[in-house]
Symmetry: C2
Amino acid sequence: MRSTAKPAGTYHHGDLRAALIEAGLALLEERGLADLSLRAIAARVGVSHAAPRRHFASLQALLTAVAAEGFRRHAAALRAGLGQGASRAERLEAATLGYAAFARENPALYALMFSPILVDYGDGELGEAAAASYGVLAEIAQGLDWPAPEEPDRDRRAEAMLWSLVHGHALLAQAGLLGEEGADVRASVADIMPRFGYREG
Amino acid sequence: MRSTAKPAGTYHHGDLRAALIEAGLALLEERGLADLSLRAIAARVGVSHAAPRRHFASLQALLTAVAAEGFRRHAAALRAGLGQGASRAERLEAATLGYAAFARENPALYALMFSPILVDYGDGELGEAAAASYGVLAEIAQGLDWPAPEEPDRDRRAEAMLWSLVHGHALLAQAGLLGEEGADVRASVADIMPRFGYREG
């Protein structure tokens, strides 16, 4: 038992919810999804094990909020890249590297965000956060000069290609299957994106 | 209880092992990994629930053998592609499409083959099967004229890029995240691979 345990009432309204999500994020990376429980998260925050029920009906509900926070941070990492670099090409590459870095630094969170237990994002908080994140990705992909302008579904296909590349790379690298050379996403992005070229704009 | 139940002794040596792997493959796609058990697999084969223990100490051991069979079929799908098409470019593209088709047609098996529960393949049957499958993939990747010949780790980086692309595409398409246009891997492969160009040979 933690000596810091205190009643949930010590938290202002909303603060406990945020503290539970923050603890969920930390424990997810430390212990992995399989060892996560509402009880462990409550202990981390220092509240009674009944307290999380004020905000989350189940561990699944808390995980959904954790994944939504993950998508918001993911979108922020992509947007930060779009704000860097002197040329448009540099900004698009920096944003793509922001995607890869987020996945590398938050492996368990990234896996949760694409987990089959959540993949039907719905139209609640999670669906909104995921859509915002995908929107930035689509913006990056639409900077590529590929496929040819006259091709049908040009933007959607560019997005599918770029997303497949970074998603697949993140998962294979995490699994240790790419070796040191292959896992160097910086070299690959700097090499691959110019091969497609960039649209005007 | 199935009326076809019979003692394991009815099988010739080795046949029961093969029948259990075959049943494991079928049940994996029908029910998913979470609902698989040695008992269910024994029932499918029509033997007592103790019979699988003659060949597999645990469900994990049987799943390892199922994944190894998966990698053998995966390698065969890639090789079949390499045997098609008039030009080398066509053969490399057909092999890449063979990879994508295998993942699409065997989603649960493909996920098992890259599951964290198995990903340290070791040097047994699974490690050997996985290495053979990756070997064909490397052969395809080395047909791409990318990165530049003078680049270090050229072959390894080409493999990481191509593998990331098809692996990521397979998983995002399975999760229903690419939409109909983005999920058309045939169009993407036929468009992307020539963008890199092919080496002589």
